[in-house]
């Protein structure tokens, strides 16, 4: 008997006033009762439109059916066949523009809480799973993976399962990529990421940190060392600045720097060796998930006022709907249709304010989004002592500049064959943000899977 409730089961969460002062996870996860109840909302449509909305085609109705019957482990196994990071994706996927967007229940009411169910099932598995993943028998082949973010970890995992000896090279001192330096603890607990990584190590994957490929070793040297294929999952870590006056004043951060200090280096904890500017009033420029993360971190560091300054309107905000909602609940002030023109400083060279212009939306530009047009004479100044630039990132040019024959787009994205992830260099593959520019965890994961499959096909022929 399906549950015909028009609303999703509400996700238990920390109340805004409390959670805006700590870094603990905001969403607490469904109880078993809620999960069973929510799973009953699925109508098991014949066409399965939800699956078509998933970048890795998780067999959604199948996992929900098992969940509804209380077989949570079985549900997990269904998801695990398509996704290697369900505990992560259940938390960070923009379901509203993927699976849940196509859910038939969403026509009259709210879609089925597919993301919430995925999270529940993955968490249940992690709490109850007894046996550690077994180390598969070796097939005698060696593959190198550059980058331990979602793309690299997925590629490594899929190959390890097929018996490949995989070594992942990570530039930072901790593995995880954006999962550890970008996405904050209150959205994605690092213990979950660590569990995924431990699982990979148990399968025999070697993870070498403090290895900047392109400096300590080049891709060519990896191939010379005997790795039969290389997967580049080096991400899009190069921060973009607006190049407006005042951008180098003390107190102006790229979101990458701010988030790295807070998330990776845990500057929010006393006892951390890494400093962070605990500002009173913060302006975060940008409207994506990174901007939301930066704003919510700034709030948790004790800021009285945190602004999101975004040049288009709410409709165009690229951030995940839940993040925008949570940010608003936590008291973040949205200054929409506003664009900064310059940052003002005091005599000591510290940020004092940010001057902005009001914008109006004109005709759509090349990206399809309506172009913001300045309203002359509408300048105003926001009184802030910290500005965080969260306007996008692009691929780091280091690998391209040290790998001969590796073709990239003008903006740095590595050019690959869509079906295989193969680059212009033989046996060198790439995927994730390093190819597409800053995108999502699930797309990166999908690319890792595609490349692993192609690498396996290619090396099996030899």
């Amino acid at each position: 008997m399906p549950n015909m409730s028009l609303k999703k089961n509400e996700m238990p969460s920390q109340v805004p006033d409390l959670r805006s002062k700590n870094f603990l996870e905001v969403a607490l996860g469904y109880t078993e009762e809620q999960a069973l109840d929510e799973a009953q909302r699925c109508l098991h449509c014949k066409n399965k439109p939800c699956v078509s909305g998933c970048p890795v085609q998780v067999r959604i109705p199948e996992f929900i059916e098992k969940a509804a019957a209380g077989d949570f482990e079985g549900a997990y196994q269904v998801i695990a066949q398509s996704s290697s990071l369900p505990a992560v994706c259940g938390r960070v996927c923009p379901q509203e523009s993927q699976c849940e967007k196509h859910c038939v229940r969403g026509v009259k009411g709210e879609p089925v809480g597919i993301g919430r169910l995925e999270r529940f099932v993955a968490d249940w598995h992690n709490q109850h799973a007894q046996e550690a993943p077994k180390k598969p028998a070796s097939n005698g082949h060696k593959v190198a993976v550059v980058g331990s973010g979602p793309a690299g970890l997925t590629c490594a995992g899929d190959l390890a399962r097929l018996g490949y000896a995989v070594t992942v090279f990570e530039a930072l001192h901790t593995a995880g990529g954006v999962l550890v330096y970008g996405i904050p603890e209150f959205r994605l607990p690092k213990a979950i990421v660590q569990k995924e990584i431990d699982g990979l190590k148990a399968m025999g994957v070697k993870i070498e940190t403090n290895m900047v490929i392109g400096r300590v070793l080049s891709i060519d040297e990896l191939l010379e060392q005997g790795f039969e294929a290389v997967f580049i999952g080096s991400g899009a870590g190069l921060p973009r600045f607006m190049n407006i006056p005042g951008e180098n004043l003390k107190g102006v951060y790229s979101a990458n720097e701010f988030l790295t200090r807070v998330n990776l280096m845990k500057a929010y904890k006393t006892g951390s060796g890494t400093p962070i500017h605990r500002a009173r009033k913060v302006a975060v420029v940008g409207g994506g998930n990174v901007a939301m993360d930066a704003a919510r971190c700034a709030k948790r560091l004790g800021a009285e006022e945190v602004y999101i300054v975004y040049r288009r309107s709410e409709k165009e905000l690229p951030a995940r709907a839940e993040e925008v909602e949570h940010a608003k609940e936590e008291g973040i002030i949205f200054k929409l249709l506003n664009n900064p023109t310059r940052i003002l400083g005091d005599e000591s060279g510290s940020v004092q304010g940010i001057e902005c212009l009001e914008m109006a939306l004109g005709e759509p530009d090349a990206s399809g989004r309506r172009r913001p047009v300045e309203k002359a004479g509408s300048q105003f100044t926001l009184d802030v002592d910290c500005v965080i630039m969260a306007i996008g990132t692009s691929p780091n040019p280091l690998i391209k500049s040290t790998t001969e024959g590796l073709e990239t787009q003008k903006w740095g994205g590595i050019i690959v064959e869509e079906e295989t992830g193969l680059t212009s260099r033989e046996n060198v593959y790439a995927g994730g943000d390093a190819v597409t520019g800053a995108a999502t965890v699930i797309l990166a994961m999908g690319a890792g899977k595609t490349a692993a499959k192609a690498i396996h096909e290619s090396l099996s022929k030899k």
């Binding site: 530039a171 070498e208 900047v212 400096r215 003390k250 845990k266 060279g349």
Partner: protein, 303 residues
Amino acid sequence: MQDICTCPAKRFSAVYKRGVQDIMYQIVKKRVLNPTVTLMEIEAPLVAKKAQPGQFIILRVDEDGERIPLTIADFNREQGTVTIIFQIVGATTEKLNHLHEGGFLQDFVGPLGKPTHTEDLKKVAVVGGGVGCAIAYPVAKKLHEQGCEVHSIVGFRSKDLVILKEEFKSVSHMYALMTDDGSAGEKGLVTDALRRLIESGEQYDQVIAIGPLIMMKFVTKLTKAFDIPTVVSMNPIMIDGTGMCGGCRLTVGGETKFACVDGPDFDGFLVDFDEAMARGAMYRGFERQAHEEACNLFRGRKA
């Protein structure tokens, strides 16, 4: 353990095989150069293999530690070691200085940054200020090995702080030691010595200045008047060191550059030193407190 300890390479693999999940970087030598400057030789074969003068590493002392950049003062590819020379200025360098030979660093990554450009230089004045001499030395050494005539001008506050005297002399055609108080060498600033050399007719292809920002600013002011190409080595606050955060950005010729990927060497005539000095002072308050806490921590320990 004794027999493994004699060979650095074996020591490295012994640590790895012992089951330590992550590689740790052993301190194979420690030498105090002066009351505030220490030299350490670290076992890091892969970094040693690739290191070039002008490049740097980033290290962490322990699990909660901050990442700090230090220039590679020397490297030994056969032994697989990298030498760092650091001044004890804050909590991390204080903790670092309390480690001994045989101890381990949590993290050590490199080589980062662009190597110093040394091609086609026939006569160069290398100007080092204070602990900046530790960074100037590998460059002077490489130039000397290439057959370049190296004139070294080094400056320290006083006699007790002089470092690398014999090392510099061994790679220099001419060596001028300046101290602020005249307790060693000649009394005066490095710019005094440099000015004198230039005015006496020395024709330098390039001047390389490495030291406190204020020193590099004034050396550049001097060389600009004589139109001698000048390269400086910038040392901004850094976090990741690979170009992903922009924390190390500075303005060079009106454009924003990242010291960790575009530098650390830059055209001295184009660098905005005042902005760099301001940005370098961003965390003074935190740094002072953290240093105090670290010192108290060590003082509180029973010997």
